[in-house]
Amino acid sequence: MDFILLIISAILVNNIVLAQFLGVCPFLGVSNKVSTAIGMSGAVTFVMVLATMVTYLIYTYVLIPLGIGFMQTIAYILVIASLVQMVEIILKKISQPLYQALGIFLPLITTNCAVLGVAILVIKKDYNLVEGIVYGAATAIGFGLALVILAGIREQLELVDVPSGMKGAPIALVTAGILALAFMGFAGLV
């Protein structure tokens, strides 16, 4: 597997938000300001890589040997939830600045379907551990890219006279649609 291809594909061609529709909730929720968008992206990258790693190990060394692959969903969501809690506690103890930058976003990540989605996709696509981690990291960067771009556009939109009915979620969605259109131009790149 060519890692460069894997990375480009995960960031641009199959962008997690704009092409695969995972993580749309935080994509719309925290894209008001570029600074929060960057904080969120950082937290997601951190958790996504960790979660992919841990869930992969649990799937391969616990669920499969026990023959309970069907418990995947329930095991993953519990792992991710406790992982997020742990990361929050550890960050608080060891790095106050990092905690202040990422801390408030961490609880939101448990219900970010991109994290669970990537964990499931890694198994579905038959990646090995290293490929899985690279895929997780690249996907998270793709998420961050889309989020920061949308936040940049929405900051500009603040100054524009949007029709009252379109304010908030509708205009954000339409903007995201146009952004998705632009990202479709990357298809066929790999």
């Binding site: 199959n14 069907f70 066929g188």
Partner: protein, 197 residues
């Protein structure tokens, strides 16, 4: 009944209770659905095989064997027999070069290597463009994959016109068409090298 307190004992007890209940329910549903799930997967495979080879009387799934592609992996081959006579082989092939990556096919060959029919199993191609590789046409209104029927890859190079071959690509979906050819070629190479001809 009053709400119970958040003491450690209660917390552990209630979570354990819920987990045990959940596991029991899931184990039960899993046992119940295991049979039907395997059956649907098998039927899907058999349907695809039926589509791509002439009528057969054996169960190709029981006779399945693997053949190396020569690229470091192996493909599944399903022989179709009518009585004792082999009437065709269904080769499960793939390509990673579709517009959206992975596509898998069931390619059916007659014993002499002529393509009988092709069926797309999985794909993520663009709706309305790349997806046109899936449907089966009629003699009056042939679809993309019909042009492969009855052709022998030895004298019908599996290449689109842009690459100098005889295959008419799907309009606006050259990459998908190219990937399709590549997947069929992989099936044929494997078939030929396996000495089945």
């Amino acid at each position: 009944m009053a709400k119970i307190q958040s003491s450690l004992k209660n917390m552990v007890l209630s979570l354990t209770l819920i987990s045990v209940g959940a596991s029991a329910a899931l184990g039960f549903v899993y046992e119940m659905t295991k049979g039907p799930i395997e059956l649907t997967a098998l039927n899907k495979k058999l349907d695809a095989i039926k589509q791509v080879v002439p009528e057969f009387t054996n169960n190709p799934n029981d006779d399945m064997f693997m053949l190396p592609t020569g690229e470091g992996d192996s493909l599944e081959v399903y022989p179709a027999r009518s009585g004792e006579e082999v009437v065709g082989y269904a080769v499960k092939s793939y390509t990673n070069n579709g517009f959206s990556g992975y596509i898998s096919f069931m390619v059916g060959f007659l014993p002499d290597g002529t393509i009988y029919n092709i069926s797309v199993l999985e794909h993520k191609e663009t709706p309305g463009l790349g997806t046109k590789m899936v449907p089966e046409g009629t003699p009056e209104k042939p679809e993309f994959k019909d042009q492969f029927k009855g052709k022998h890859p030895a004298d019908f190079p599996l290449k689109v016109r842009k690459d100098g071959g005889p295959v008419d690509a799907i309009t606006a979906a050259t990459i998908s068409s190219r990937a399709f050819c590549e997947g069929v070629q992989r099936a044929y190479n494997t078939f030929e090298k396996g000495g089945l001809k």
